[in-house]
């Protein structure tokens, strides 16, 4: 049996609410009273969760879609409403499912270690910042610094997967160390800035300075935009063996890529020369 907790927003708050307490890990063992009394930061004071949300708890039977017949047993939180003013939702979560039926503010899924976070609307900046595991799916667009590191931290995302169906802001995957970020739409300047490793896929047109100062890792551009920095060097045009695997994995996750799996060639550029040149940018040559 899955414990399903539904939070329905009463009215949009006028000040930002920091709601890092709302994670499946925290709420799984709580009853309705405890959830209602959960404290959230509203501006510079703490308020009870019941001031913002109506809480409903139910139990549902679900079966694992990958292992037929195996019953699922986890906590699912469904939050309904426009949560633009809510920050840090699902921060540090390690299991369960958090479904946000609307748009959400900053730091959603930051420092996440496991579980699944789905946003039906748009997400704010620092989505999945420094996350270590789990999966984030955004059906709309997302802001700047997706999967990046916070200021002063030399490493960004260290594992997991972030899938954005719409557009993304600047510095996506900045300093990312491991994991996969896929963006179906366009993205802002400097994607993969100072990237250390991992995979970043951009389906739309990227901004300038793609992969600037990257040390290692792979950036895949399906619609190459402006010229790459002069410290990236053309190597070859080839059929990338990893592409098929990545394509299938993304398709399995319900990610709608605007290209086919077959007969696709990539131009491979290595760089950034200033940082040792061990990173790679693959630009789609034909499909």
């Amino acid at each position: 049996m899955c414990k399903q907790i539904t939070l329905i927003l009463k009215t949009e708050p006028s000040l930002p609410v920091e709601a890092e307490n709302i994670t499946p890990d925290n709420l799984s063992s709580m009853d309705a009273t405890e959830i209602n009394n959960l404290l959230l930061w509203y501006g510079n004071e703490q308020r009870k969760l019941s001031e913002f949300f109506t809480v409903e708890i139910s139990e549902v039977e679900e079966v694992d879609e990958f292992e037929e017949g195996t019953p699922l047993c986890h906590t699912r939180i469904i939050i309904k409403g426009d949560l633009i003013r809510f920050k840090r939702l699902g921060e540090g979560m390690s299991s369960g499912e958090l479904l946000i039926e609307g748009s959400v503010g900053f730091h959603t899924g930051a420092l996440m270690k496991g579980g699944t976070l789905i946003v039906r609307g748009n997400a704010g900046d620092w989505l999945g910042a420094q996350m270590e595991g789990g999966k984030i799916i955004v059906q709309g667009s997302a802001g700047h610094f997706i999967g990046s590191g916070y200021r002063g931290n030399p490493q960004g995302m260290r594992g997991g997967m972030i899938l954005i169906n719409g557009d993304a802001g600047q510095m996506v995957g900045s300093r990312m160390r491991r994991g996969v970020i896929a963006i179906n739409g366009n993205c802002g300047d400097a994607p993969g800035y100072r990237m250390l490793a991992g995979t970043l896929l951009i389906g739309g047109v990227p901004g300038i300075r793609v992969g600037a100062n990257m040390k290692r890792g792979t950036i895949i551009l399906l619609k190459p935009g402006e010229l790459l920095l002069p410290t990236f060097y053309y190597n070859c045009t080839y059929r990338c063996p990893v592409w098929g695997l990545l394509y299938r994995e993304l398709k399995d996750q319900g990610f709608n890529l605007q290209c086919s799996n077959k007969d696709i060639y990539f131009k491979r550029y290595s760089g950034d020369g200033n940082e040792g040149g061990k990173g790679e940018i693959l630009t789609c040559h034909s499909h």
Binding site: W41, F145, R151, R209, P230, T231, Y233
Partner: protein
């Protein structure tokens, strides 16, 4: 912000005066913005190891348009706006001997042929004490802090060959002071949030413009600055719609619409205090004449006392 990630090899203006034989002004026009800078500290000044003054120094200006500073430079490189990051990237490659495939001497980088950047890279490596001074032409062009990050890395890498330093050409009186004090008190230079009772730093989230733009503020205390003159129009309109208190020695574009204006004695004239110069050197300033108003410190201290009393009463349930 850039310094936090990659650091910046820096020096004082005294060292610039006494030692520098190569001065690069990048996105800065000190002839108009820092009038005494060239004669007291840099290009024109005569120092211990630079007795010839201007004749003994090489001056390079990198800017998007000719300026009074560029007219007095030995080399002026007029660049395309918004290409500073690419230029710093290429300079890093040239300094480190990294190959730039597909580029010839005539290839344009930031609107200037590569050969010119090669000359500059050689000049930087051959200088015995080089300093690059960067201004808002670099910090406010596309890329912003990333431009500084790349330039700071270039400066650090040049230290493999010679002594090379970077200095930010900070504008306005004591604009550096708030960064310095904030850093030694909280560990962070700007955009610090104290909502939870401890400092939390995040530029882009807690910087003034961003918070006001998202209307996350319901009251503002403005100290020794003029948002009416400096912030974007929609943000000023929002500030006008919330309670504002201005602590300010002069009439400015903020004081007419601030709900409360507390006049204070100007620092360095009617009150003593510490100024931080653009090279981070603290300078103590004395009080010259008596003013009928208290200093900023006295006003802030009494506000803090009153607020603490009110909060204590609230906590005690009185």
């Amino acid at each position: 912000m850039a310094r936090q990630l990659v650091g910046l090899a820096s020096c004082t203006l005294g060292e610039v005066k006494n030692r520098a034989d190569l001065l690069i002004y990048w996105g800065a026009n000190p002839m108009e913005s820092h009038m005494r800078h060239l004669s007291r500290y840099s290009a024109m000044s005569k120092g211990m190891y630079t007795p010839e003054g201007r004749k003994g120094r090489k001056v390079v200006v990198i800017d998007v348009r000719p300026t009074p500073t560029s007219k007095n430079a030995d080399i002026f490189l007029q660049v395309t706006p918004g290409q500073d990051f690419e230029i710093a990237t290429v300079l890093r490659a040239l300094v480190n001997g990294v190959a730039l495939h597909g580029l010839t001497d005539n290839s344009l980088i930031g609107g200037v042929p590569l050969a010119k950047w090669q000359e500059l890279a050689e000049l930087m490596k051959q200088s015995s004490y080089g300093v690059v001074m960067f201004g808002i032409g670099l910090t406010q062009s596309r890329g912003k802090d990333l431009n500084i990050e790349q330039l700071s890395t270039l400066v650090s890498e040049l230290n493999k060959f010679t002594r090379f330093y970077g200095i930010a050409m900070r504008g306005h009186g004591n604009v550096n002071g708030s960064n310095q004090v904030m850093t030694w008190q909280t560990g962070y230079p700007l955009a610090v949030n104290f909502n939870r009772g401890y400092p939390w730093y995040n530029p882009g989230e807690f910087s003034v413009v961003d918070m006001l733009h998202r209307k996350e503020v319901d009251a503002a205390l403005i100290i020794a600055t003029d948002p009416g003159a400096h912030l974007p129009y929609d943000i000023v309109r929002y500030l006008q719609s919330i309670p504002t208190i201005a602590i300010e020695p002069h009439k400015n574009l903020t004081t007419p619409w601030a709900n409360v204006v507390i006049p204070v004695a100007p620092a360095g004239v009617g009150a003593e205090g510490t100024f931080y110069r653009m090279d981070n050197v603290p300078l103590h300033v004395k009080k010259i004449i008596d003013f009928p108003y208290p200093s900023d410190v006295e006003v802030l201290r009494s506000i803090k006392e009153r607020v603490s009393n009110v909060k204590n009463r609230q906590r005690a349930g009185l």
